[in-house]
Symmetry: C2
Subunit: 438 residues, 2 copies
Amino acid sequence: MTETKAGLIGFGNIGAGVVRLLQENAALIKGKAGTGIVLKKIADLDTTTDRGVMLPPGTLTDDVNEIFDDPEISVVIELIGGYEPAKSFVLKAIERGKHIVTANKALLALHGEEIYAAAARRNVEVQFEAAVGGGIPVLTAIKGNLAANNFGSVFGIMNGTCNYILTRMTQEGADFADMLAAAKQLGYAEPDPTFDIEGVDTAHKLAILASLCFGTRIDFNAIHTEGISGITAHDVKFANDFGYHIKLLAIGKLSSGKIEARVHPTMIPLHNPLAEVNGVFNAIRLTADFAGPVMFYGRGAGQNPTASAIVGDLIGLARSMKAGAGRRMAPLGFLDSMIRDIPLKPMSEIVSKYMLRFSALDKPGVLAAISGSLGRHEISIESMVQTSKQSDSSIPVAIVIKTHEALEGAVQAALSEIDRLDIICMPTVFIRIEDNLE
Amino acid sequence: MTETKAGLIGFGNIGAGVVRLLQENAALIKGKAGTGIVLKKIADLDTTTDRGVMLPPGTLTDDVNEIFDDPEISVVIELIGGYEPAKSFVLKAIERGKHIVTANKALLALHGEEIYAAAARRNVEVQFEAAVGGGIPVLTAIKGNLAANNFGSVFGIMNGTCNYILTRMTQEGADFADMLAAAKQLGYAEPDPTFDIEGVDTAHKLAILASLCFGTRIDFNAIHTEGISGITAHDVKFANDFGYHIKLLAIGKLSSGKIEARVHPTMIPLHNPLAEVNGVFNAIRLTADFAGPVMFYGRGAGQNPTASAIVGDLIGLARSMKAGAGRRMAPLGFLDSMIRDIPLKPMSEIVSKYMLRFSALDKPGVLAAISGSLGRHEISIESMVQTSKQSDSSIPVAIVIKTHEALEGAVQAALSEIDRLDIICMPTVFIRIEDNLE
């Protein structure tokens, strides 16, 4: 075999990046893969928009069947995004015995199981390094050299929009709304940024990471997902005073036969490498029973990093085909028969430390009322600060408490009790803390 | 094939870790590799010392030929360390058509070329993830999913002994000698720590990393290697005042057709994730033309992380063999025919920023003399501090200068001129600075 021939479905920004990388680094890629890798066909309904790359005549088509029907094409790259027609196209390519490379995290998070089962039947591979962490080769690592490990946890800062906003809020003491506007202006946030800032994009990635780490199916809709739109400059400042940065963290943990899978703003200790992941950068941190903690850091999005991940997957497949291998690895790195159903832990059962920010009237007995309620729910206080007294006692003060580890159900119960007190002026803000980062 | 059978040569601490990992995570490993992986034979001259693991009778032998002569054994794990007999054993195993997994960085740094050529002739693989960065799967990443990239640089903090000492010097303002003693007491430094603290271990790893990143042969003996034994508490403090941490950094860079390969104490900006790599942790940072900067962080040594890397390599080989592949990848990730000779840049030609610490008498004209000499050599000053004046002008003061980018040859020439001045009391200390870390 002198060339590996691939077909690309969906010719947008990322697709153009793949074309450019395959062209610019063609000799290098051939030297790494052992065969040249060419895009024989690119299918898109739009065949006229200039994508800034040159293509040999006859490459671009608006008929996706030219890819499915071409027996020379051994790998199909799906870059349409979304659920349909992406899912139908992927399944059809698998039926035709073609390996799949995709960057479609939403598709895999919701329909991975069906796709992986189809791939097993046809003995083809499904690779998707670009779906999580852009140019960071974390999925390859989990499935590959770290494969001998049981993973205890996976944490990720995986949304550049959120991390950019939180970083500037931290560095400048700015408000969320202003920094979201700045992110939009710079192209770091979509015109409708809901998926990013409300944590949905991060939850898609967590579903994929957790399924790889724990060898399980994850019900995407059961992932507890909070975004960053409720984080204020005050929260950022108080977190700093306690020695933390706030990050939108995806958290997957496996303990006592249950999985925690949650996405929410999280306080991370200053000087931990994860706390220093700034701007649009991403990081993923694993704890593995033999390898220990391992962290990966890099560009989580963008045309070039995403193209790097996609072409990396292509090279892997080309190497296997050239060496005479059929399907070398199942999509999750486990034999399909090993994939287990592991129950998700309800949020009320998780254990965490918390920063609680109360807006309370500055009256005698306030602290006794709050701490009494926390105590009755077996929540103990690690430290506390109160903003300076107001001359007018009808103006609320902030009482900020850092708790020891507590059951989330107990915290919720205590807060619902406390928030009904007359002296409490606004719903209490609470942010979870991850302290145990080696 | 129901089982992949391996032979292990060298049954010490790491070998026992491999045995334990293969036993403890046997079901997981089988589920990942698609076949069970068993150590059929373990060869060591010492067959009596208790290594804390149970072995089936007949596994341990003092005759290494039992491994070479066993046709069922398809992979040989070399964990003897050092040059001989490790090299002879590896070459003999290759001759018998067995794949190699090794953690032997010294062997590969000096004799990699000969070993890789033999492996190519016999169409077997040589895998060595454990040779660099312990449990951090950085080599797999470079050869694997990042394979489509041209690398511009590779930086590494890759010696836990040095990083532990430097971290404590930074955090406590302590002296090198005291912290080395502490590291010895804690088992973080060998009784004879020369290889670690003088940078030789780091240079071995750099030779391997640079050959993978740049697709070249590296003459290990040509790598400029400085250790940390000359770093004082003063240096650490001045570096901090300028906004830096001092790390023992391995630096590989490719530019204008030449390679820089050097190991020396280096100042890294505070708040860069690389500067927050503390204690015995390791980190490796790559810049890739498409993926951008990528950093990997984790435990760089120890029984468990090293076993993770070795068994990860075994799983990769088992997957390929089960899928019917012969040799899937050349040792450096490049076709052997692609490996180029790239000249090493002499140190006099490198360009860097520098912190220069002069010990000078506190007399009029001192600064003019120093800055005049620097200026004549086209070295411009970015900032300067001077310790407080002494009442006794025969006691030297420290003048610390941070330069803009300058040619190392010019800096050396200027310092040799300045150090001959009567007002200079001790040889000037200079530490290179890496500022351009995104």
